[in-house]
Amino acid sequence: MKKYILDLEVVEVSHPHPRYVLIKLTDTKAPLPEMVPGQFAQLRIDGSSTTFLRRPISIHYMDSKTNQLWFLVQTVGDGTRQVAKLKKGDTLNCVLPLGNGFTLPAGKDEKILLVGGGVGCAPLLYMGKWMSEMGCRPTFLIGARSESDLLQLDLFEKYGDVYITTEDGSKGEKGFVTQHSVLKEKKFDRISTCGPSPMMKAVARYATESDVKCEVSLENKMACGVGACLCCVQDTNDGHKCVCTDGPVFDIKELKW
């Protein structure tokens, strides 16, 4: 898939949560390039004195009709805090699309479970949209600490059935995603997950025990994003692999988890 360096224009910025910023962008000169769910972009950070590199952020949503690309960014450090300061009309320089996406269903009847936690839910929305356009209806299982940490549920509900766990029980079932009753009630053909590492490891354990295919999206610290620097490697059964070009999505059978 051809990669681009694009100056995209910010069309809308919102803060759906104190720690998250949702940025909607467009290309004012041309249609946005094709990109698939699970891929990411490298965002240039301007104006941060302590950071240096681009920030890898997953494709949250892309719509060719509106020519819009969305990023949902969790503000964790100086780099992402600069992203959160963007305003309508600003320009964001992005290198995209990078990496390999989630495995798409082979047919309409394939039952896919998309498990997300925290900002890891971001790429699952685009996956839901993509599947919906294929005539599939995925099941989303979303975990959060508390009801206030759950974002964009209305959007996820548009594309699939949504199940929720919260650690404090304020919404959905109390506990962790791997404890949700939907896992006992329904049988899935494949699980794709993105979120905190402990959550993905728990999902991977569940998938292995239940003999369900499973893939996870990793977010190792990255420099180049294009497979040149070999900084973001993951130790796999086949040696060190680059998360940026061999991933970020990996079949759990490849990983030493």
Binding site: K3, S49, F52, A223, A228, C229, L230, C231, D235, H240
Partner: protein, 291 residues
């Protein structure tokens, strides 16, 4: 070379990774990733830490070995529309020489860059590059095995880089390139932990540029062979500063991560500078500092 701009080893993959961003025919050359005689897994993750105006890495020469390079990578890159050079590393002088001899057989590789300055491997690497005797031993061994252009990449982690450069010149090097990364360290204060898997790493990026520029200036005045300058070059102006300090060519490294198209932009920017100052050739500005 069509111009003095090259891309530094370990920052540009094998060139093909950047073909969507750069017209490779517009850069003078690319130096592909460090290659060793035997495959190397490199160091464990985490291998990178960001710093103000730079980054530390401790990749540790991960590569699949020279046989894999010759059989699988070379066919893919031999017809790229630019000069393709290979960075060669090793843990003994014999290793270096054997690896270089294998690459000498590859018709479309006109030169190698000998890495005697990698700070991230326990054996060999920088150990050879920090004494004139060590550097000389490796360069002599490779010189006997390698008849084409031999560039030696120098470490800045030394007391006198000019002593090393002169030793390398006497041992038969055709050119030197400098600087490799500066050894550094990063710590996470909150977690009270080292940020790199092996504790230390090599610092690169704009943070090292003044150090690199000083060393290029000193070495260019100490040796008669061409000097290739690198270290934090992120713009045409940076590149021109290195040429004025005495470098005959430059390499762009870490800046490729921030702007994958930077190498081509620097080449264009150098030409604009030459036009603006009425110079007819890059040669006119090499070492052309005024009093």
């Amino acid at each position: 070379m069509v111009n003095p701009v090259m891309t530094a080893s370990g920052t540009f993959g094998y060139g093909v990774e950047f073909q969507d961003f750069v017209d490779l025919s517009k850069v003078g050359g690319i130096i592909v990733k460090g290659t060793t005689l035997n495959p190397r897994q490199g160091n464990p993750y985490p291998r990178m830490a960001e710093t103000a105006q730079g980054m530390l890495n401790c990749v540790g020469l991960q590569n699949k070995g020279v046989a894999h390079f010759c059989d699988h990578i070379y066919p893919m890159i031999k017809d790229l529309p630019t000069r393709v050079l290979v960075n060669v590393s090793g843990s003994t002088p014999e290793d270096y020489a054997e690896c270089a001899a294998r690459i000498a057989e590859l018709e479309n590789i006109p030169a190698i860059e000998l890495n005697i300055s990698c700070p991230n491997v326990k054996q060999g690497g920088m150990a050879f590059g920090v004494t004139p005797e060590g550097a000389s031993t490796v360069v002599k061994a490779v010189r006997e095995a390698y008849p084409k252009t031999l560039i030696v990449k120098l470490s800045p982690n030394v007391t006198s880089i000019t002593d090393i450069a002169m030793a390398v010149q006497d041992a038969g090097a055709d050119a030197v390139s400098l600087i490799n990364t500066l050894m550094g360290m990063a710590i996470d204060a909150e977690k009270r932990k080292k940020l790199l898997s092996i504790g230390t790493g090599g610092l690169s990026g704009p943070a090292v540029k003044p150090v690199a520029l000083r060393m290029v200036y000193q070495v260019a005045h100490a040796v008669n062979i061409p000097v290739i300058g690198l270290g934090g070059i992120s713009s045409a102006t940076d590149a021109i500063e290195f040429l004025l300090a005495g470098a005959s060519a430059i390499e762009i490294g870490t800046a490729n991560f921030l702007d994958p198209a930077i190498s081509e932009k620097v080449a264009v920017g150098i030409n604009e500078y030459l036009d603006r100052h009425h110079f007819s050739s890059v040669k006119d500005i090499i070492g052309a500092l005024e009093d």
